[in-house]
Amino acid sequence: MSFWHLTDVEVEALRLSLWVSGCAVAASLPLGILAAWVLARLRFPGKHILDGLVHLPLVLPPVVTGYLLLVLLGRNGVIGAALYKYLGIVVAFNWKGAVLAAAVMSFPLLVRSVRLSLEGVDRGLEAAARTLGAGPLRVFFTVTLPLMVPGIITGLILSFARSLGEFGATITFVSNIRGQTQTLPLALYTLTQVPDGETGAMRLCILSVLIAMAALVCSEILARRFAARMKG
């Protein structure tokens, strides 16, 4: 067996990782834009608390976040029980839970960069669009959002990378189940715990580096394209 031949476990872990990270990013993007908008544009009492809540996963130990998720969203958790009872959805110990853990952990990174780009958008351009006859919602989608694209790209790449690397919260919340919740880092960890696992671990390690590099290059290309478009 050559070094480059991936075992079934490794292939599964790779596919699951890409799927989970992709889902996590896709699900958190609309919410992240909304949160960034609320934090950047609205003034209301308790804004600091919301800001703190959004950023909490960034500063908490991931295991703590995972445990909190388990307490809240497990089958017997406050939210988890309600989800099961009314919608029939179970997130504990399956891939949906892995998506949720990755989304929560990467959310602050997404919100931070989206918010930064939103704060960079010239309010004067929005005002100009209003005088041209566009209502607030149209202004958001035709002026604000397009001008936020660089920040959104950065946010997407950062949160995708963070999701791929998610370990602590995932293993605490949804455990390490092959084919269900065993993502790349979890598979790598497992391989380091078994005899003869070194080659497999090294393959997964190289794979992780390659995926991360590809994501960075993609974001760089997209950002450059955008800048070129703006310059005409």
Partner: protein
């Protein structure tokens, strides 16, 4: 248009009330910080007055008592900003049509091709705003506002960010526009030459209050308003007509009353009305008619009044059939023993006359 607004902005209080012309250009003039932009922002709906009423063409846009406050997108007001504010992610074509597409077809009376032709921006349509010069940006911004088929145009110092040659490039388009479309324009400026060229009505603003409102020729010559203008800018406005557009030496002759004024050449046929503004500091006086002099314009008149309000200089109000201001040193005034009623000759250098082709609306 009827504008009557009160707004407190931090320490600054705007309390302005005036009526603008229903067609042609109403200029708002005042030093920077007089509240000009605040007022146009309130008219556009980008700022909310604390009290008052704003109505354009009998359509009420804001009325504090009746709780009317139309959002900007429903006011049908085209706004040309000082800094252009073109949408950087869209091409010139998309910028121009952005507002047009949001205007119901049956309400449109301005067509895309006509505006592109009027403003001479046909060759720019595929470019992005970042690739345009300052003058081109402002022309596109004007076109964009015009294409919403607005009930009124607001122009907030559209030429202030441009250098003199770019200004000369854009100004004629604004003049044409106010003639070709019957859209009232509220034009903010602190440049007297723009007002000479454009305004059919003038509102003078200072510290948030309206000092005077009326005919620009009258207001720009009034001494009590001079303090509001830059001191160097004080002078008189005279309404003239072109008598000879190009004499043997290349100068244009303008006629007012029995006198001729020789000025730098203007390309306008005989009979065209022209407003000229002669700054006080460019006018000298002599007691005898001088013979060998470089002054092209020597006009007899008499002193009406001597205004003495600065240390080294005095301003003379001269009657030459029209009023004219001359700023001379106090020392000269004493030496020549000038007093009201005395006949003098006013000397005016040709190059010192600022011109504006009078904007008489058909």
């Amino acid at each position: 248009m009827e504008i009557d607004v009160i707004r407190q902005q931090g320490n600054f209080h705007v309390n302005a009330s005036f009526r603008g012309a229903e067609s042609g250009v109403t200029a708002i003039f005042g030093p920077s910080g007089a509240g000009k932009t605040s007022i146009v922002n309130m008219v556009a709906g980008l700022a909310q007055p604390d009290a008052g009423r704003i109505a354009v063409n009998n359509l009420c846009l804001f009325d504090a008592d009746q709780h009317i406050d139309l959002p900007p997108e429903q006011r049908r007001i085209g706004y040309v900003f000082q800094d252009g504010r073109l949408l950087p992610h869209l091409s010139v074509h998309a910028n121009l049509s952005y507002g047009m597409h949001l205007t119901p077809v049956k309400r449109r009376f301005v067509t895309f091709d006509a505006v592109v032709e009027l403003l001479g921006i046909g060759h720019l349509l595929q470019r992005r705003p970042a690739k345009l010069s300052g003058g081109e940006k402002q022309r596109v911004a004007i076109g964009r506002a015009l294409l919403t088929s607005p009930a009124m145009l607001l122009m907030d110092e559209p030429l202030a960010s441009l250098d003199a040659s770019r200004k000369a490039e854009v100004l004629p388009f604004i003049m044409r526009l106010s003639r070709e479309y019957a859209i009232p324009i509220l034009y903010v400026s602190h440049a007297i030459d723009e007002i000479l060229n454009l305004a059919s009505r003038l509102v003078v603003l200072e510290a948030g209050r309206v000092l005077a409102c009326g005919d620009p020729e009258d207001l720009l010559s009034r001494p009590e308003l001079l303090s509001c203008f830059d001191q160097d800018e004080s002078g008189a406005v005279i309404k003239t007509t072109v008598d000879n557009s190009k004499d043997a030496s290349g100068l244009t002759h303008l006629r007012f009353g029995d006198h001729l004024l020789k000025v730098p050449p203007i390309a306008a046929p005989r009979g065209t009305p022209v407003r000229v503004r002669i700054a006080a500091r460019h006018v000298a006086v002599t007691l005898q008619q001088p013979r060998d002099t470089s002054f092209q314009n020597i006009i007899p008149g008499k002193i009406c009044e001597i205004m003495d309000y600065s240390d080294a200089f005095v301003d003379l109000r001269l009657d030459i059939g029209r009023f004219l201001w001359a700023r001379i040193s106090r020392q000269s005034c004493i030496k020549l023993k000038l007093k009201p009623g005395q006949p003098v000759f006013a000397l005016i250098k040709s190059v010192a006359v600022s011109l504006g082709i009078s904007n008489t609306n058909p």
